[in-house]
């Protein structure tokens, strides 16, 4: 078992994006909220285009439009003007001000600037310099900023908090459906299931229906407990709530596959004091049935998994459950925690796993060549699969060269069934083609 972190100065085919886009995704899951990026023109335009591609949805991202003057004299004027223009024209409930490499290097005191603004809108500063961390840490910082600014103790409730991390609308719908079956009320941070997968009906509402409300965010301080589905993206908020408001916390694992979903349901069950109901046991049985049925099509195949840290480690455990071999488990975000998670899977399952953290796809390609795998699971940029003539199942972010990934869940028992189909069909199609 090896761990490699890219030691090159040049990054070739990156495995991560920068912090601001992660923060933007978190804010887009809040009802009537608009991210206001404190940066130059591209800092909003490029992430918008990335969201458009992946989610096939319009997104509203505002910008303070920093130019040469701001680079010299500071961006305070632009930020104040921007908040006012956005509030008066759009009437959002929340404006999250997201910093960039530009505004952080200029050194604008955005917390101080925002404190002086008196408008009927919640203003939350989010520090996400692009030269630190990745989109994953940006998301984590954003959710933590939301709860640290807005959560308020007002008396205990019978709800639980769930931070979902960088998952998709389909995943959150599956999560909500599981919770509904268990009759569990939850504050979901943040809920993009409607805001980034809105129905086409006219007239279009001013803001998409759905999304986490500010009241729900405020109420997170009063819950029975908090669960982070992705500890790297949402774990910070859950930890904050535990430290500050004594809300018991559970970090991960992402409920991909049988054992991880069992663990989530067990955790929820314990927090609320109710058993896992029959319907979920039936879904579980359907997943196991699907896994057994495809066994000869997938068993012993060697898999390279590339995704954000928690999805990658969750997927590693699931391909093990399918009788496959997780030969390489890789993530673009640097994380020792990720290495520990995958090491634990390796020692529990007996697989030899090569672990790559903070890697780019060029590094992953070298590892794939050396290990000789049968299936690559990665985002749209997984051209490695073509080059190496191996099967390719698209997962993660972004996926835009095939349609529908964002709508289908990969979590829970139903997500497991989708993944069984995706993995087996990728292998079958590859076999047919070659």
């Amino acid at each position: 078992m090896t761990q490699t972190k890219t030691e090159r100065s040049v990054t070739i085919n990156p495995g991560m994006l920068c912090q601001p886009i992660g923060a933007m995704q978190a804010v887009l899951g809040v009802h009537a909220a608009i991210p206001l990026v404190h940066g130059s023109q591209g800092c909003a335009a490029y992430p918008m285009r990335m969201f458009n591609r992946h989610f096939a949805e319009p997104v509203e991202i505002a910008l303070s439009s920093l130019g040469e003057d701001a680079a010299v004299f500071g961006g305070a004027d632009n930020l104040v003007k921007g908040v006012h223009a956005l509030t008066s024209r759009r009437h959002p409930e929340l404006i999250a001000v997201i910093t960039t490499c530009l505004s952080e290097t200029i050194g604008d005191d955005i917390d101080g600037i925002l404190r002086k603004i008196d408008l009927p809108v919640a203003l939350v500063p989010m520090h996400t310099p692009s030269y630190v961390g990745s989109h994953v840490t940006g998301y984590d910082n954003a959710v933590k900023a939301l709860v640290s600014q807005l959560a308020e103790q007002t008396g205990p409730t019978d709800k639980i908090n769930i931070t979902v991390g960088l998952l998709n609308p389909g995943d959150i719908r599956e999560l909500k459906s599981m919770l509904e079956v268990m009759r569990v009320k939850a504050n979901i941070l943040t809920d993009i299931s409607e805001t980034l997968d809105a129905p086409l009906r006219l007239p279009r509402p001013s803001f998409p229906t759905g999304g986490t409300t500010l009241k729900e965010i405020a109420d997170t301080a009063n819950s029975l407990g908090s669960i982070a589905l992705c500890k790297h993206a949402g774990g910070g908020a859950v930890t904050y709530l535990a430290n500050k408001h004594k809300v018991p916390m559970i970090l991960g694992a992402t409920p991909i596959g049988v054992a991880n979903t069992d663990a989530l349901l067990e955790n929820v069950s314990q927090l609320v004091g109710r058993p896992v109901p029959e319907q979920l046991r039936r879904d579980r049985g359907r997943l196991i049935d699907a896994m057994i049925d495809v066994q000869f099509k997938v068993v012993s195949k060697k898999v390279a998994i590339f995704a954000d840290p928690d999805v990658a480690s969750g997927m590693a455990r699931f391909v093990h459950e399918l009788g496959m071999e997780p030969s390489i488990v890789a993530t673009g975000t640097a994380s020792k925690e990720f290495v520990k998670d995958v090491q634990a899977i390796a020692s529990q399952t007996g697989h030899e796993i090569e672990i790559l953290q903070g890697c780019d796809l060029y590094g992953l390609h070298e590892a794939v060549k050396a290990a000789g795998v049968d299936l690559l699971m990665a985002n749209t940029h997984g051209s490695i699969a073509d080059d190496e003539k191996i099967a390719f199942a698209r997962i993660g972010f972004p996926v835009y060269d095939r349609v529908g990934y964002q709508r289908r869940t990969i979590i829970g028992f139903n997500g497991g069934i989708n993944l069984v189909d995706l993995i087996a069909n990728s292998i079958l199609e590859h076999g047919d083609a070659s």
Binding site: P14, A45, Y46, N52, A85, L86, L200
Partner: protein, 456 residues
Amino acid sequence: MPLTLLECDIPIPEREKHTYIKKSGECIIPMCNVQTTPGDLTERGCTFAGCMGVVGGPVKDVIHLVHGPIGCAYYTWGGGRRQNLSDNPEFHRKYCFSTNMQEANIIFGGEQKLHKAILEAYERFPDVNGVFVYATCVIGLIGDDINNVCKQASKEIGVPVIPFSCEGFRGVSQSLGHHIANDVIFERIIGTKEPDEVTPYDINIIGEYNIQGDLWVIAPLFEAMGLRILCTFTGNSSIDDLAMAHRAKLNVMHCQRSTPYICQLMEEKYELPYMPVSLFGVDQTSKALRDVASFFGLEEQAEMVIESEVAKILPQMEYYKEKLKGKRVFIYQGAPRAWHWIKLMDELGMQVIGAATTFGHTDDYEKIVERIGDGALVIDNPNSLELKEILVKYKPDLFISGLKEKFLAHKHGVPFVNGHAYENGPYAAYSGFVNFARDMDMTINHPAWKLIEGRT
């Protein structure tokens, strides 16, 4: 009617200067090419996007190394499978290079990292013929001397290493990025090599980026007339093509916003004249071929090409004219396509009810205002609230814009064609015109629009 203020703009009245309803006899040009109002939900991109994404990026045989934190490189990776096509897809747009600047590099400077990154990238891809280095925002702030690093690295690896200081915060839009790329390519590349042979019929096609293969339907037309294309700036071009471009006899300029700079510079230094053309639609394409032909005395050849090309598409065009006649269209493009396409829509019998550009200058708006019909809206740098208001109030039959606006149109029940990256292009010249008309017809007459609840 004069300048006008849309309802959504009441809190930001400065937008009135950018918004004009055309009236014949007036001489009003909306304000343009100025800073965006902060917080107005602009659709604009940055100087880096204009420099790397538009002009530099299509060069097919160099490493495009983005010097800065990771995001800017990632966002320009690939550019979609079908954009900026080249005949080198095994390398070009498949690989994305970045110095991935970290906090320590910001504090202590990124010159060393950049230097190492250039050498490492070249070591892994030794078949390339150059390295383009693009500085993003933070590089300008910390003051890395990228010129010096590139000079040193070039000496070491033996191929040109070209620095572009295209920090995103410079300028007001993509437009300055085009200009920077023009200047740098002119100063450092054009004229640095000589072609093996020159002919009296050599041209360059300037401002053509081979979106979905536009170039590959344009080039055969000129070649059939007996011309040779020495260089395309910059679709499917190699760095050597650019280096030898000064030996052409004429620069044929298509995109007239991103490339007048280099045309003027080449005219001054090499006495190489340039000719602006439109290569969209039958009439404009035919005019372009005739204009270029008359420069070279190839009038007869041009007429033969035009006759045979027009004959090929005539039956299809008649069909689409019938289907598209009278449809009302709103066009929002980077800049020149907004006015190139007003004439194209005229040919189809469609009505342009509004035109907008992201980064147009005065000369772009002069052409738009001259060409567009009375009562049409002309708006500069429209933001998403303005676009929404236009879609809802004007109810166009078709909106032509880019990916960022596509899903906004869909969510308001308005048929949409991507005019930046195209749907099923190419859209240029004769055969491309058929594709364009077909795509417009397909979306306008798509059965699913009628199924939308509440659509009136």
